[in-house]
């Protein structure tokens, strides 16, 4: 192995031939077998019909690909297996296909049909993976197929498939840029998507295909801002970068006032002399900026959308992903008002703890930022101190930052730090430190002399590199005040004997030449020495020798005439043409001849002109015209595909383009409402103080309206509650709620309250259980009675409901349709009174009076069904046949005698059809009368509404009363919190609905049901396997338990008994239930398929995925108890 790796050492060589390196491949059969033979046995394995052999072969092939060996001749054998059943073989075949399809286009076409089939698969994940592979095959012929597939997938029901479609767009674009226009249409469509899953991917596609079409973003801008926090981290980076560009084109510069000031300041900046004032200026500016921001803010008003972006990105500074943090930081740097940019410093400093590559990139960006906004990082100065263990490139960058941060208040500490760095063993770093000292010296006048002295001391350093670097830096410093420092120049002249580093020698020579009048005695001597060693010098030194000679000739021609001519003659025959040219040019200039008299007059002016001192400035200056955090910024060169960060516009473009009119996808009223709110939002959210609650509520409703998957439950402050409610069954929730509440209220040590609680719970559970069983038995008996008395054709014991149905059918046939409705109503009434608590007092409350709308409508359809076909059995219209669970709202101990229970009566709430009727049952166990029972201070999640129950004037001791209230839960299981008030007391209570109560039954025929179900596949379908309880295997109990868990109606299974009468699969019946959610009217379809031995499968189809998932849990619980 080691030998072979040594053999491979020629880097990057295409090493496909005869590389005997299979040591680690468990599958490598014969090391000595030839290529040809090896592939032969792979082919054989692939052709066999054993999956394990195929898998083995594919693994070996993939291992070959991974090593970069050519396996293309296996293409025909591999592509045959594209439809293999084994999932791992299939995946590996995909890997192979994507790798080699480009080379073998014709053969690759063989596989296309498999993927096309996959695109139609009912499983969303299979659809997605088919699209993924299909779009990865780079074969031009299939471009139309890909286009079609992408278009179709873009309107797929599953967000995951849509995400894959977004991923496929850039792939197709790179394959065939001609398709751009069509792809933009798809992008536009996907941009309107409101799920977080899609957002990141589609913006990525947008950036790759049409980054110039900024107009596509307008309508989606606010949505993207609001979704941002829930998008996966990689998507966040892409979106933030895009939004930065967008904001630069759409909003006004928030620093417009300050930037005027800045310009005034920067005028001075270019002059090195005025550092003092400049620094004061800087600080003053900081102060001014704030006051100016206060005072001058008036003319500039930040666009609310601009503010929205800043506010929604800020929490992402806390991301664990460095790329996200950097993206937010650059957004703030480029877009935020100066006073607010500071927030990013802390997060960036945090990133410095990460891997060295991350540090490298972050420090580059920090270096750029520190030039513009020094104050921001000043408090973190010490975080940039250098450790001896840092890699050199990190050290140099930290040094850069430290230098940028230096001002006269901290310069002494920084210089002390620098002193320790100079002793470092890492010489490159020492050199950089010396440079840094030089820059500090030029920027901060006060320390210039100190620095210079320090540097001169370094000239006696033992390390040549250090000395050389010092010379170069001193040269630059001396240029500022040469007359003061002739002794330093003298000292340096002596160094020419020892220093060998060309750059340093050149620097010394230049210095002596430039300031030869300060060292008139030494200069000619130096030239003499140099002339001696001229031929051995480096080019750069030679050039300076010529320079020195020329200058001396002009100032002191007596002493140096001969020397100069000697040097020029040497240079004339030098190997380097630069030097020859220079020599010729200088000779013409300084030595007057007849031909060139005109110029030599000006020779002195040319050579001895006063030269401005160099400005030592950071290499990071002005790098911020590149978008920070970008590759182009890092390289300080435009990378391919870089989008320029546009300048702020003079006047803001029309902000109304971002207003979203009622979009097509808003179907129901509640969504519309949310939408309106969203449009309004930026206006009131403008003020800073307004933060948490509104925002969270908004973002929640916003995403919630789109898809539950995106719902901001984890963001919202009340997240835990909503999350919780998703998890448990009703009873659990109740307990938790209570637990929490008591904890909050009592604020006692927990153990105490817990123990108390548990005992209470026990008690309650007990009570509830008995109640349920009681009412259950009652209901059963009741039904049986009825069926026996009213219908003669009662069949088996499991057909009560059917009997009921038939009875209804009969009624419908014989009487005008209005009558059965009435009858039904009556029955309903009766049932309630029987099913509810024994001491139920049938007061005339709203729920009983109205015409039972859903029942009547279902009956009408029922009748229609009858007239159309006889085969369809009359619907088994649901009846809330099972017990209504009642929940405790107020315990009689906490309520000081007042006990309140509530139940969901499952009646339409007449004043508002979108509300769930909640029946409250008050019992006064106290000795005194309770007066004026009413509700107050209702606290709701956004979108929810409550209609209060009418005030109960008087509840005498020992009496009971009922009242009905309506709550619009907005199809969520969020609790409605309110205060229940008596004359004397107030109790905080909350009602949280089990998910099953958020719907009302609808009637569907089996065919309708199947049709609707077909449209709610994929994401909207949740399937769960279960084993039915021994007691729960007959039709009756199943139906009963399902309808008890959720307010649904059974869909008649017509074909079961009537059409194919003799061989109904009696042991595998299918039960279907249907309902609609109360608020939005989304369909909820439940299917229970039973199999042998109690095995069963439960399927719930619902547009609202959260409701679907929770419902599955609840029904599962109900069926397996």
């Amino acid at each position: 192995m080691s030998a072979s790796s040594a053999f491979n050492d020629e880097k990057g060589g295409s090493s496909s031939v005869g590389e005997p390196e299979y040591g680690h491949d468990p599958a490598s059969g014969g090391i000595f077998s030839s290529d040809y033979k090896r592939h032969d046995d792979l082919k054989e394995m692939l052709d066999s019909n054993k999956d394990s052999l195929k898998l083995e072969a594919m693994k070996r092939i993939v291992a070959m690909i991974a090593r970069g060996k050519n396996a293309s001749d296996l293409f025909p054998a591999v592509v045959k297996n594209v439809a293999c059943k084994n999932i791992e073989v299939k995946k590996l075949v995909y890997v192979y296909l994507v790798r080699y399809a480009e080379e073998q286009q014709d053969l690759a076409l063989l596989s296309i049909s498999t993927f096309q089939r996959g695109l139609k698969d009912p499983n969303q994940l299979i659809r997605a993976s088919a699209l993924r592979v299909l779009s990865s095959i780079r074969v031009t012929i299939i471009v139309p197929i890909m286009m079609l597939a992408i278009k179709e997938a873009a309107s797929d029901m599953s967000p995951y498939v849509r995400k894959t479609a977004a991923h496929a767009i850039p792939k197709l674009y790179s394959l065939d840029p001609e398709q751009k226009d069509q792809l933009i249409e798809v992008i536009e469509k996907l941009l309107a998507d409101k799920t977080t899953l899609v957002a990141g991917s589609v913006v990525m596609a947008f950036e790759e295909v049409c980054p110039e079409r900024i107009d596509l973003i307008h309508k989606n801008y606010r949505k993207l801002c609001n979704l941002l926090i829930d998008v996966e981290e990689w998507g966040q980076v892409v979106i933030i970068n895009m939004l930065t560009r967008y904001a630069r084109t759409q909003f006004l510069n928030p620093n417009i006032n300050e930037s005027l000031l800045e310009e005034g300041g920067s005028g001075e900046k270019t002059f090195y002399g005025s550092d003092d004032e400049e620094d004061e200026d800087e600080e003053e500016k900081e102060k001014k900026a704030e006051t100016a921001a206060m005072a001058k803010r008036k003319p500039y008003v930040m666009d609310p959308d601009h503010r929205l972006l800043l506010r929604n990105t800020k929490p992402l500074l806390q991301s664990r992903n460095a790329a996200v943090v950097m993206a937010v930081a650059q957004l703030y740097f480029h877009l935020a008002p100066k006073a607010e940019v500071g927030v990013i410093a802390k997060a960036l400093v945090r990133l410095l703890r990460s891997h060295s590559e991350v540090q490298y990139v972050v420090l580059q960006n920090v270096a750029t930022m520190t030039i513009k906004r020094r104050g921001m990082f000043e408090p973190y100065l010490k975080s940039f101190y250098i450790r001896s263990t840092d890699p050199t490139q990190i050290k140099v960058l930290k040094l850069e930052v430290l230098t940028n941060l230096a001002n006269e208040t901290n310069i002494s500490t920084i210089l002390r730090e620098f002193q320790t760095y100079i002793k470092s063993m890492d010489k490159d770093f020492v050199a950089a430190t010396i440079q840094a000292i030089g820059r500090c010296a030029t920027n901060i006048g006060e320390v210039r002399d100190t620095c210079l002295n320090g540097l001169v001391q370094l000239l006696s350093n033992r390390d040549e590199l250090v000395v050389a670097e010092s010379v170069v830096v001193i040269k630059k410093l001396l240029q500022m005040q040469p007359e003061k420092h002739s002794d330093i120049i003298k000292h340096m002249a002596k160094l020419t004997d020892n220093i060998q580093v060309p750059m340093a020698r050149a620097s010394i020579l230049w210095l002596i030449g430039e300031y030869c009048e300060h060292v008139p005695k030494i200069a000619p001597d130096v030239l003499r020495k140099m002339a001696k060693s001229f031929t051995n010098e480096e080019d750069i030194v030679k050039l300076q020798i010529i320079n020195l000679a020329a200058k001396l000739y002009l100032t002191n021609s007596k002493q140096t005439k001969l020397l100069t001519q000697y040097v020029l003659n040497l240079a004339k025959y030098d190997q380097n043409y630069d030097i020859r040219d220079r020599a010729r040019f200088i000779r013409q200039l300084i030595v007057p001849t007849e031909k060139s008299g005109a110029l030599s007059k000006y020779a002195k002016k040319l050579f001895l002109a006063l030269k401005p001192a160099p400005v030592l400035e950071s290499p990071f200056k002005d790098r911020d015209h590149f978008q920070l955090g970008s590759l182009s910024h890092l390289l300080n060169a435009k990378a391919g595909g870089y989008q320029e960060l546009p300048d702020w516009p003079e006047a803001a473009p029309d902000p109304s383009v971002r207003n979203v009119e009622v979009p097509e996808w808003t179907k129901c009223s509640s969504r519309e409402k949310r939408k309106e709110k969203k449009v309004e939002k930026p206006f009131y959210s403008d003020s800073e103080g307004e933060s948490g609650p509104t925002e969270s509520a908004d973002s929640e409703s916003d995403s919630g309206s789109g898809s539950e998957s995106a719902s901001g439950s984890e963001v919202s402050a009340s997240g835990s509650e909503s999350e919780e409610s998703e998890e448990g069954s009703e009873s659990e929730e109740e307990e938790q709620k209570d637990k929490k509440k008591t904890k909050k209220e009592l604020k006692k040590p927990v153990q105490e309250s817990e123990s108390e609680q548990s005992s209470e719970e026990e008690e309650r559970k007990h009570a509830r259980k008995s109640k349920i069983s009681k009412s259950e038995s009652e209901s059963e008996s009741d039904e049986e009675d009825e069926s026996e008395s009213e219908s003669s054709e009662s069949e088996s014991e499991d057909s009560e409901s059917e009997a009921e149905v038939k009875k209804k059918k009969k009624a419908a046939e014989s009487k005008p349709p209005c009558k059965p409705v009435k009858k039904e109503n009556k029955k309903e009434k009766k049932e309630i009174s029987l099913l509810d608590l024994d001491d139920f007092d049938p007061t005339p409350s709203p729920q009983v009076t109205p015409v039972n709308s859903f029942l009547s409508s279902s009956l009408v359809t029922d009748l229609e069904g009858l007239s159309l076909s006889d085969s369809v059995l009359a619907p088994a219209t649901m009846a809330p046949s099972s017990a209504l669970k009642s929940y405790e709202l107020l315990h009689r101990i906490t309520g000081e005698g007042l006990q309140v229970e509530f139940c969901f009566s499952r009646q339409p709430f007449s004043p508002d059809a979108n509300m769930v009727a909640v029946q409250m049952h008050f019992t006064n166990n106290a000795s005194a009368d309770a007066k004026s029972l009413h509700m107050e201070d209702v606290k709701l999640q956004s979108g929810m509404r409550v209609r209060e129950f009418p005030e109960i004037e008087l509840l005498p001791a020992g009496e009971t009363a009922t009242a009905v209230m309506g709550i619009d839960f907005c199809d969520s299981t969020q609790a409605a919190n309110f205060q229940l008030c008596t004359q004397t007391r107030k109790f905080f209570v909350s009602i949280q609905p089990p998910v099953g109560e958020l719907m009302r039954p609808v009637f569907l025929t089996e065919n309708e049901f199947k049709k609707e179900q077909g449209q709610l596949m994929g994401m909207n379908e949740i399937t769960e396997k279960l084993t039915l309880d021994a007691t729960c295997r007959n039709e009756h109990t199943i139906v009963q338990r399902v309808t008890a868990a959720a307010n649904l109606s059974r869909v008649p299974c017509g074909s079961d008994k009537e059409c194919s009468p003799p061989v109904p699969p009696p042991d595998h019946p299918v039960y279907r239930f249907a309902g609609r959610t109360v608020t939005s009217g989304s369909l909820v379809l439940v299917t229970v398929v039973t199999r042998e031995e109690g095995a069963a499968q439960l399927t719930v189809n619902c547009e609202k995925m959260v409701i679907g998932t929770m419902l599955v849990k609840d029904i599962l619980l109900a069926l397996t108890q």
Binding site: E357, Y360, S720
Partner: protein, 418 residues
């Protein structure tokens, strides 16, 4: 975005390549090797190298270079962060991320890379999702697979990607439900010659190992949350709740994960738990140098300082050392000039010391630099910042989990200048 990935080992072999778009020839790595030659140390290879047609972005982990080839503008951190995530995933899967481990599991590696990127854009990077897609290899499973021919690829399609909590697997079941939290704090400090602290800050993390059935919803609260100056969260943490109440509320991923990392800034006073007395001198003209080092505990709140390891890069002029440790063992590598002293536990009654002479190159002048001393140590059952977890509650599930919290303080980049 990411075009291709090359894995290069320390000796410069490309031992794995993977392309997401059309194939990029491995000769592109020549630019990388050039840069590698120019850099004196392996860690000094610039992370971003421009070439005429591509850009190479690389990270170095476990002596393997992960070189990504990209073609157009992309935030460099995006790629770097992703590459680190790839390494973390490998480590998670194979226990170690070495060349041998990658070569042994080349198929799994390939499958992972295939799932993590689609057309160069990250797709699934959550380890919980990946584990549902591709099961990590274990010895048992490898044996079973060879016998039965079954696969490492998950039979079921993962639903995690579709859920609201993409970081958590669905259908988690444990018989013992347990949740462990490790509060680990690292002290980064620079101590100057005279023993005074130049800079010191605390970097803390809370690593969790949560093995709970179902969908638990946890809340973790602190006694003194105000200490946490700057925090970054795992995506599962509800940010708004933290903002409002300073409580960590989250549905945890299954298994090990980093819940939170935080920073206690240098503005706060940081207790330094050890001190160093040192006397390292070289005399002019002599080929001998003196080395004298004593360690002692300070501000440890009565806890023992353990696993102490001292290392120092001695000047190039040092030929060899002749030292005498009062406890532990020391080694000196004459090639790299690295001195390490494994001290072990510090006994406050008898302070550990390392004394002796260094022999220098004859005739060479005395080195003008003094070595810095790096110290590593551990203190159990203490978080040096004083951070304390108040309580951990679970909602959403019925069972009672076993909860455990451990504190530890370690030295991070702890340097003493001499």
């Amino acid at each position: 975005m990411i075009h291709s990935l090359f894995l290069i080992n320390a000796s410069g072999d490309i031992f794995l390549e993977k392309h997401w778009k059309s194939v990029v020839s491995r000769s592109v790595c020549d630019y990388f090797f050039e840069a590698q030659e120019r850099a004196t140390e392996p860690e000094n290879v610039p992370p971003v190298i421009p070439t005429p047609h591509h850009y190479l972005i690389s990270v170095l982990r476990h002596r393997i270079y992960f070189v990504a080839v990209i073609q157009s503008e992309v935030p460099p951190l995006f790629v770097i962060e992703f590459l680190h995530r790839v390494v973390d995933t490998f480590q998670d899967y194979f226990g170690v991320c070495t060349e041998a481990a990658i070569k042994d599991n080349v198929v799994v590696v390939y499958e992972l890379l295939e799932e993590m990127l689609d057309n160069g854009f990250p797709l699934a990077t959550e380890s919980n999702i990946l584990k549902e897609l591709i099961k990590p290899p274990t010895i048992l499973r490898t044996m079973v697979n060879t016998i039965t021919g079954s696969t490492n690829v998950g039979e079921q399609l993962p639903t995690g990607q579709l859920s609201v909590v993409p970081w958590r697997r669905t259908g988690v079941k444990y018989t013992n439900n347990e949740a462990y939290f490790d509060v680990v704090e690292e002290i980064d400090a620079i101590i100057d010659k005279s023993g005074s602290t130049i800079t010191a800050e605390i970097q803390g993390v809370i690593d969790a190992c949560v093995k709970l059935t179902g969908m638990p919803d946890l809340t973790l609260s602190f006694m003194n949350p105000r200490l946490l100056d700057d925090v970054s969260f795992h995506p599962c943490v509800r940010f708004k709740r933290w903002e409002a109440e300073r409580i960590l509320s989250f549905i945890p991923p299954d298994g090990n994960f980093r819940l939170l990392s935080y920073h206690v800034s240098s503005q706060n006073l940081v207790a330094i738990p050890v001190y160093v007395k040192h006397n390292i001198t070289f005399r002019e003209g002599s080929s001998q140098g003196r080395f004298d080092l004593t360690l002692g505990p300070k501000q440890t709140m009565g806890k023992a300082v353990e696993s102490v390891l001292v290392s120092s890069q001695l000047p190039r002029g040092v030929l060899n050392t002749n030292l005498n440790p009062s406890q532990g063992t020391y080694t000196f590598d004459p090639v790299t000039k690295l001195l390490t002293w494994d001290v072990g536990k510090i006994n406050p009654q008898k302070l550990p010391s390392l004394k002796g002479t260094m022999s220098l190159q004859a005739g060479a002048s005395k080195p003008d630099e003094n070595p810095t001393i790096n110290i590593q140590f551990k203190i159990q059952q203490m978080a040096i910042s004083g951070l304390k977890v108040n309580r951990l509650d679970m909602y959403g599930e019925k069972y009672k989990p076993f909860k455990g919290i451990k504190y530890m303080t370690k030295a991070g980049k702890f340097q003493v200048r001499t």
